[in-house]
């Protein structure tokens, strides 16, 4: 198959991969193709798990803060609302988009495409949704948020008692499940399935 490298535009023939392996551009070294086993099924399963974890992470207490008998319980959205209340709506929106809205849209979008595809059907506007998911990719920052949580916990440890809630464990698992789903997905399968008039 003839292809052009997306980073240096070099035209080259991609050999058919048999089994595992990946193909890199012979001039600039960009990753051109990576083979994944059972891509569709694994991504679908992981996306379903991610959706459940997402609900848990948002519905249950995230962290609690105890100082001299006073307890403050927070959920994932508390900080976002607090930033908004303090008159920083832009920052509040940025955190909301990168930790809640974009991850949700990505998981929901994947399910919207993969569930029908699994049963040999094509969801309406499937290609537009898939394109949207791919362009949202850099804006999903749950793993960066997790590092932010760890740093704040270290900062507060001396000051007060911090009690982790169910949601923070769900959130932690969600990060791994989402990362696994992203790396299990072979986008070429989605494009090829769409091209073949199912």
């Amino acid at each position: 198959m003839l292809t052009a490298c997306h980073e240096c535009d070099l035209l080259q023939h991609l050999p058919r991969l048999s089994g595992r392996g990946s193909l890199k551009c012979r001039r600039c070294g960009a990753l051109l193709y990576k083979h994944r086993e059972n891509s569709l099924e694994i991504t679908l399963a992981l996306s379903l798990a991610a959706m459940i974890l997402f609900v848990l992470a948002n519905a249950f207490p995230f962290l609690s803060f105890q100082l001299q008998g006073q307890l403050r319980e927070t959920t994932l959205i508390t900080g976002i609302l607090e930033l908004y209340r303090e008159g920083l709506p832009g920052l509040s929106l940025l955190v909301f988009l990168t930790t809640i809205a974009v991850p949700f849209l990505q998981i929901a979008g994947m399910l919207y495409i993969l569930l029908p595809l699994k049963f040999g059907k094509k969801a309406p506007e499937m290609m537009r949704v898939f394109r949207g998911i791919r362009s949202l990719q850099p804006w999903s920052m749950m793993e960066v948020f997790m590092i932010g949580i760890l740093v704040s916990l270290v900062k507060l440890m001396k000051m007060a008692k911090i009690i982790p809630g169910i949601a923070i464990f769900a959130f932690l698992m969600l990060i791994f499940v989402q990362a696994a789903a992203a790396s299990a997905l072979d986008p070429h399968i989605v494009w090829e399935k769409w091209e073949k008039k199912l």
């Binding site: 997306h6 980073e7 900080g79 832009g90 920052l91 850099p138 590092i147 932010g148």
Partner: protein, 206 residues
């Protein structure tokens, strides 16, 4: 295609930036109006106005980088005492309390990465403008790194969010977010857009 390294552009082809499908270059000169037959994305030979867009975003980011580092990002109020912290004073606090690894994480994510991103993108723009042919592979690698690490600068924004959410116990202690955090968030977002609008294929174009 006599050159040892034929590009799609030379061959009158272009690859869709979204699904990498190889398409024939449309005859008429109407960039941005032709869509990919497979995924429906707009087809461009190169990202549109790549250099000027990246350049404009970079200038904005350089300007915002100053208030982001000078203005405080948080204020801690404990029993009537208010103390404001900038990004750097936060790093120094962790160094003083002997928490080196955390100090390093914050320093790398909030100070080093944004600055390196700005400098690398500036270097890439200048070298492409000059039509430099040196170390193309290394420059592509630099671009790849810039694109990958940018998101990690958000750590400090999230620290502020978590602190503001948790430390809110009446008059005992509370933490407020300050305007420095807004500028810093803007720097992160704008440099991410700057990296996205740069087209690495320009490095290889003759």
């Amino acid at each position: 295609m006599t050159s040892a390294f034929p590009t799609a552009k030379d061959a009158g082809l272009l690859s869709c930036h979204n699904c990498h499908l190889l398409c024939r270059l449309p005859g008429g000169n109407h960039p941005g109006t032709v869509r990919c037959p497979r995924c429906g994305a707009c087809l461009h030979l190169r990202k549109p106005a790549s250099l000027s867009r990246t350049c404009a975003l970079l200038i904005a980011a350089f300007i915002l980088y100053i208030p982001a580092n000078v203005l405080p990002i948080t204020t801690v109020v404990t029993l009537g005492n208010a103390q404001s912290d900038t990004i750097m004073s936060g790093v120094i606090y962790f160094v003083r309390s002997g928490m080196w690894p955390i100090a390093l994480v914050i320093f790398v994510a909030s100070v080093l990465v944004p600055l390196l991103k700005l400098l690398i993108l500036t270097y890439l723009i200048i070298s492409v403008r000059r039509g430099s042919q040196k170390r193309r592979k290394d420059r592509t690698k630099l671009y790849r790194i810039t694109e990958a690490v940018g998101r990690w600068s958000m750590v400090d924004i999230y620290v502020v969010t978590v602190l503001v959410a948790l430390v809110h116990v009446g008059s005992l202690a509370s933490i407020r977010a300050e305007s420095g955090a807004v500028f810093f968030g803007a720097v992160v977002v704008i440099t991410m857009f700057a990296a996205m609008s740069f087209d690495p294929r320009l490095i290889w174009d003759e």
